[in-house]
């Protein structure tokens, strides 16, 4: 699981960086989204990777980290997803405004 997840993060991050360096605004916004996914997965994996473990205490199970997954990174990722979602939406608006003002989708507003 660790190998698969690191591969996914790596591929998402690499593709995102490549896209951010492209000259078209739409490519940049896709790249930023991919990088945000990569970082969110990365933060998520920083707690510890387990399958089928509860993040919140259930009665009957001893309350230590051997029986639970760390809930903290999940809370962090939730916040981070909201923030990146909002900023991506703002970027899309800006992209459209720029396109309308300059008649080009180049990031510099000119070819």
């Amino acid at each position: 699981m660790e190998v698969v997840l690191s591969l996914v993060i790596g591929v998402l991050g690499a593709a995102g960086i490549w896209l951010v360096l492209q000259p078209r605004t739409f490519q940049v916004v896709l790249g930023l989204s991919l990088i945000a996914y990569a970082v969110n997965l990365f933060v998520f994996s920083m707690g510890s990777l387990w399958i089928g473990r509860e993040p919140i205490v259930v009665p009957g199970t001893p309350s230590d980290l051997d029986h639970y997954t760390d809930p903290m990174p999940q809370a962090l990722v939730l916040t981070a997803i909201i923030i990146s979602f909002a900023t991506t939406a703002l970027f899309l608006v800006l992209l459209l405004v720029s396109r309308g003002l300059t008649d080009t989708d180049h990031v510099d507003g000119e070819e």
Partner: protein, 567 residues
Amino acid sequence: MSVVTQLLATLLPDLIVAPIVVPLMTAAVMLALGESRRGANAVLNVASTLGTLCVCAALLVAVARNDVPAAVVAYLPANWSVPFGIALAIDRLSALMLVLASIIASASLLFACARWHRAGVHFHPLFQLQLMGINGAFLTADLFNLFVFFEVMLAASYGLLLHGSGRRRVRAGLHYLTINLMASTLFLAGVGVLYGIAGTLNLADLAQKLPHIPAADRGLLHAGAALLGLAFLIKAAAWPLNAWLAPAYSAAGAPVAALFVLLTKVGVYSVLRLWALLMHGETDALALFGANALVWGGFVTLTIASIAMLASMNVGRLAGFGVVMSSGTLLAAIGFDHPTVVGGALFYLLASTLACSALFLVGDLVERARAGAASDAPIHVEQTDHLPFYLEMRDVDGAANLDDREGALVGQPVPWAVAFVGVSFVAFALVIAGLPPTPAFIAKFAMLDALVGVRQAAELPARVISLEGWAMLTLLLTSGLFAMIALSRAGIRYFWAPQQRPPPALRALECAPVVLLLAACAGLVIAPAPVLAYATEAAKAALQPTSYIETIMSARPVPPPPTRGQQ
């Protein structure tokens, strides 16, 4: 005085959260009032900003008053016990930054109320949210909470940068947004790495745990710290991550740009705070990780900014590179890790922030004078970089009093508006260049005295008077010279060139903030000793954060009130 003391003592732990909550609530009320009632919003905004200024001043008095070597007060907003919930904390450094932020915000807001706030929608709520983000970043003692306040601050700044719209702002805004989104992802990755290693996000707890990190994890720790540092350096506009700053700040409306000067200082503050807390462990692996990067990065930033200043003609761009220059100086000074040097740097931070903000405001008045008197709506004017002045001046028609024979320029009355703008331009240019008798000169002198001074040579470790010390000396003086050349060239071009233009129409609301900032600079000159002593104390406490850590770790949640009669 005892009444004040008592009042502060009763209010104190809870008062810390006011600089965050007041702007947030004000913004909410403004949104409910709606954009149609702009007058009411403006009044609310001014009231809230001035109120926050008073609160911050009270907090400053509270932490400065204590005779404890490092006064720190911690507050637990959600009443969770310490490593689990978010903690806020104020010490001398935070209080100083809060007061500076409130002063700049008040000046910028007054200036905006003259006319800029009419250039687009939602200026006032965005302004308050921006203040909330800035104040929160100065107050928080939690790494992830710092990230959240950075995002609040940035989200508001995206809106403010685009205030007034226009092609130039949209273009600069696109670049600004992209680079800051990248910085945020780096920040988040760094937070993730540090959490993965230490299992905590509370800064004080992190500072206690990091020295016990096993050697196998040190590489990861350094990588995480470097990622975080990179995010802050992008915000602080360190070279080579600062190409976005000058276009964005010069494209933004003048009051917005004046407020944005604070954003770079938030980056500098975060570098100082986190570096001092996390990288000052006793172990070799932690001790001063990245000090050389800070010092030499600061030097290169300073050099590039000086050269860029020589290449700029527009007042907005000059002020923008002044901001970068100030960042470079501060980062290099922080890297020296010496309380007196950092104390001088904090004094320099005060002076240069006031001056750069003011220069953006004055620049707006200057540009308006150039655009002509009938310029109540030059907000949407597309500014391009101006031609060098000798090319532009060919257009001046023969009627101008160019020539001695055609009539004397002497004796011609200078309109008071031109005089006011000119005098304030000269004053702030002197501060940015760091010439006597300005506060920036005192600050530079304090830094250099600590670096190469003979007086304290006995107590200085040998490494301080070194290649870096001499490099700092040279660069501080040279950058001052370059700034002086660039600014006086601009001043000559704007104020001494013969102009057939009517003087700019100034409003009292536009002069007041400039006078306010001028008075703040003057205050720093008239009474530098207490401020410098305070700054040195703040730097000492920030660099030796034992009491900061202990105060936060020993903060206890408030016990629940006794319940009356269980039913």
